[in-house]
């Protein structure tokens, strides 16, 4: 009995024991900080409404339609971000001072959340909203109402796109 036990011990020590795997472990803690952040990109810097004398359509589409807007957001839950468009004043011909009312410029968002509106002098209009982090794209088109009242000229104004969180 004793002999068998010893033989078993020797077998274990010579054959099995060295084959048993040895393990060593070590731990590393990884941390990351992510801060709120936004970015706004528009693929066109200008909008041009060119009157063609066409009497069928009541709107003059901007030559640059559709304009792609890219919004990049890192939003903390439950924050929301709105994309607004605003115009500080009417369209003005700097040579003559003649005006086209800002409210005669319409916009339309296309895609899943399709909707439309009008510019309003000094009042930002909400064109899209998001409540999640990510990279979002939308397409916006602009149209100028046709009118017999416009006096021939070259009119211009700035349109401002803004991201507002609340």
């Amino acid at each position: 009995m004793m002999k068998k036990l010893l033989l078993l011990l020797i077998t274990f020590s010579l054959v099995i024991h060295p084959c048993l795997g040895q393990k060593e472990t070590s731990r590393l803690r990884i941390s990351a900080s992510v801060l709120p952040r936004t970015a706004l990109e528009i693929d066109s810097g200008t909008l041009s409404f060119i009157s063609t004398g066409d009497v069928i359509n009541s709107m003059i589409p901007a030559a640059e339609n559709e304009i792609e807007i890219t919004v990049k957001l890192r939003l903390k839950n439950p924050d929301k971000v709105s994309l607004t468009v605003s115009i500080p004043d009417d369209l003005v011909d700097p040579g003559t001072g003649n005006r086209i009312p800002a409210e005669n410029v319409h916009w339309r968002i296309s895609g899943q959340n399709e909707h439309s509106g009008k510019l309003a002098k000094g009042i930002p209009q909400i064109v899209a909203q998001w409540n999640k982090s990510g990279l979002w794209r939308c397409r916006i088109s602009f149209f100028l109402e046709k009118s017999e009242d416009y006096i021939a000229g070259n009119y211009g104004q700035k349109i401002i796109f803004s991201l507002m969180s609340f």
Binding site: M2, K3, L6, L7, L9, I10, F12, S13, L14, H17, P18, C19, G21, Q22, K23, E24, T25, S26, R27, L28, R29, I30, S31, A32, S33, V34, L35, P36, R37, A39, K72, L73, R74, L75, K76, N77, K132, S133, G134, L135
Partner: protein
């Protein structure tokens, strides 16, 4: 008969103990520092964030002709109070290569960081990188990574 038994007993003790003793000292794994950090950055300007400092790994295996494997496994995704960053978005580059290999972290399957055969004494530098994506929610994220050195 008794002499034979005594001989066997002595042989058994002397053959078992030295092995146990020497093998207890053969496997050494040290990692410094014990924590690293990825600081916030603009994803457009810095699509890949390098960790605050490299991890230095020291590995020593003596008295064995056996194969060894070093694996790396994340306990889970990087976790904040309310959100996660998939741990697969963290990759590493390591030198020297071989016996070490570049890769990406995984929370299910241990990834092979290095492997070899026989005695070795080596230092390695591991640089960790986080894919910097816009869809991460703001917060402070953290997770533990486990290094396991196995000598077969």
């Amino acid at each position: 008969m008794k002499i034979k038994l005594k001989f066997l007993l002595i042989f058994a003790i002397f053959s078992l103990l030295p092995l146990s003793f020497s093998q207890a000292q053969t496997v050494y794994l040290q990692i410094t520092p014990h924590s690293i950090n990825f600081t916030d950055a603009d994803p457009d300007l810095q699509p890949l964030i390098q960790a605050s400092e490299p991890v230095i790994l020291e590995l020593e295996i003596n008295n064995t002709p056996s194969d060894w494997t070093l694996t790396i496994l994340a306990h889970g995704d990087l976790q904040s109070e309310t959100d996660i960053i998939p741990v697969e978005n963290i990759s590493w580059s390591v030198s020297p290569s071989p016996p070490f290999f570049n890769g990406k972290l995984n929370k299910i399957q241990p990834q092979i960081l290095g492997k070899g055969k026989g005695p070795v004494k080596i230092s390695a530098q591991i640089d960790f990188y986080l894919e910097n994506k816009w869809d991460y929610s703001p917060g402070s994220y953290s997770q533990l990574i486990l290094f396991t050195l196995t000598v077969l």
